[in-house]
Amino acid sequence: MNKRIVLFLNLCLLAMVAVAQDNTSLVNGKEKKDMPASVSRPLQVFTLFGGGFSNQLDTYLSPMEYTGYQLSFLTGRERMTHWADGHISFQSLLQGAFSHTKNPARTATAWGGRLAYDAGWHYHWNLTDKFSLKAGGLVGADLGFLYISRNSNNPAQGRLGIDISASAGGSYRFKIRKLPVQVKYQADLPLMGCMFSPQFGQSYYDISQGSRNHNVCFSHPGNALCFRQLLTFDLEFNRASLRFGYMGDIRQSHVNSIRMHDLNHSFMIGYVRYLKVIKRNER
């Protein structure tokens, strides 16, 4: 419960910061004068790999929390659009994770995997030359599994869902000696969606035989409070940036009397490239 309150406060604070700011021009407005419109909107492509801790619970498989490690990747693209005077960006994210966890007594192993795709838009407020905030929404799809090898007719749980998320974040530029550094933060909170879940004692054999009542559930923060945040530091070099940081990913649900959580904390490292997109008629 405390966790939920902290999450809620966190989002409120983000919203307060966003609303309190007035709209100013984009940081890269200077480039606009000399270059074609599409070139002034570089495409930011990043790929991060990470490792960290994973904590899994799925009462369909076991009442015990499984803990262990996780390997993950996050790749994405972000580009300012020409909408709203260039204040709106498009972002797409593909996230993958593979976890290996054990029960508290260390007598059983669970293997988990997850693939999630999100895409959406953010409105940007450039508060100063160095500091900007953004807020928007993402539409996402989520596919995953958790497998415990020693279980009999319930060896695995599949996960499938789609959702619409609120997303907010900010960035701040500064220098360490002469090296430009950018710190970025983004938090995504699914607001509504639908997800697959077997019923409390329903086997996948039953589902395969055509028993499919209440297997698609409406999800919202009341029954599936999920949250993803990414805090990164970009060390900016000429053509690319080295990016490292923290990704926290909390997936939870309580539907059909089955409780599930998938809590992950990862250290991420990778690179960011800024590509100039030149359209044929702008050469």
Partner: protein, 338 residues
């Protein structure tokens, strides 16, 4: 400056929100008993039925076995107490599995005559029987096909079945001996049973738990066997059973009972009509329990077994002379039928 402080606050609270999930891990004997009791209380699908049939109260069981615990007891002692507690359910699908032992209550077969002498069965099969995946078969001298299927765990393919039925097509009847078949894969049950009907047959119903309450069940869903597209058996068939026909074998007998050409002979089956699920308790031991029940075509419980159409048992005196009286009775019955 104010903005920066606010942002910093956002970041810090955000990171704090990603605390590890609350863990209520407690490995004490009482915690393990509580966890096991709760799994059965919330997830076991025959609790009300067993309370009524066996005359116990699951609520009282908690107090009864908690009194046998002490904080310093060894793992072996704890295992013993927990096994006894689960033994009250008299369910072969309920087990505790440890690296040392498998906690079980096999009274469903141990308390009854076995009605099978495997060496005798081997004499009927002889050594030159045909073997198609898990199916052993040969033609007996009176032109009766004798088929033995020892476990539904043994995969059988459609090709195996078609070839077997084709090669036995000239026989006057078939004895399908599934005595001591302890179950296995339900797909194999459906596959084999589908060769004994020309029409879609209602064979039973199934349900599953929808919540933690003792009566939280989904509506009964009808289960049908559709005729196989391959070779279908049209002549009399006797299925031989004993108390060790359990789980998927019990389901097979339920299904075959509805087939027009089939007669069930032998002893009651062992039962085990709940599809087992797994869970675990804090000490790390795996727990298996019946999670979703199935019923016969009359919506009756078959957890404690299915009665044969024609009861018969193994005559031990004749067995000493190399005669399996159950097979012989089946042969005689087939002779009458023909």
């Amino acid at each position: 400056m104010k903005d920066k402080l606010l942002l910093l606050l956002v970041l810090v609270t955000g990171l704090c929100s990603c605390q590890k999930g609350e863990s209520d891990y407690d490995d004490s004997p009482q915690a393990n008993l509580d966890a096991l009791w709760t799994i059965i209380d919330q997830r076991y699908c025959f609790l009300e039925y067993k309370e009524k049939e066996l005359g116990f109260s699951w609520a009282d069981i908690h107090a009864k076995y908690s009194a046998r615990l002490n904080p310093k007891m060894s793992r072996t002692q704890l295992f013993e107490v927990l096994c006894h507690m689960l033994g009250e359910l008299k369910d072969g699908h309920v087990n505790i599995s440890t690296s040392l032992d498998l906690g079980r209550n096999w009274s469903w077969k141990d308390d009854y005559p076995q009605n099978l002498d495997e060496s005798l069965r081997d004499e009927y099969l002889q050594t030159d029987y045909n073997l198609a995946s898990g199916l052993k078969y040969r033609i007996l001298p009176d032109n009766i096909a004798y088929v033995v299927y020892e476990s539904f765990q043994d995969a059988i393919g459609e090709g195996n079945l078609d070839d077997m039925f084709l090669s036995l097509r000239m026989c006057n009847g078939m004895i399908l001996d599934i005595r001591s078949n302890g179950g296995g894969n339900l797909d194999n049950v459906e596959k084999l049973a589908s060769h004994f009907t020309n029409e879609k047959v209602l064979v039973g119903y199934r349900s599953h738990k929808t919540g933690t309450g003792h009566n939280d069940f989904s509506p009964l869903e009808a289960e049908y066997i559709s005729p196989n597209k391959g070779v279908r058996w049209q002549k009399p068939c006797v299925v031989l059973t004993n108390r060790s026909c359990y789980s998927a074998a019990n389901t097979f007998v339920r299904d075959m009972k509805e087939m027009p050409v089939v007669t069930i002979m032998g002893d009651y089956t062992g039962g085990g009509s709940g599809l087992p699920f797994s869970s675990e308790i804090p000490i790390g031991w795996s727990v298996r329990f019946s999670a979703s029940p199935s019923y016969d075509a009359q919506k009756q419980q078959i957890e404690f077994g299915i009665a044969p159409d024609i009861p018969c048992s193994l005559d031990t005196e004749k067995a000493k002379q190399g005669i399996d009286s159950m097979i012989e009775e089946a042969r005689a019955f087939m002779g009458i039928k023909n």
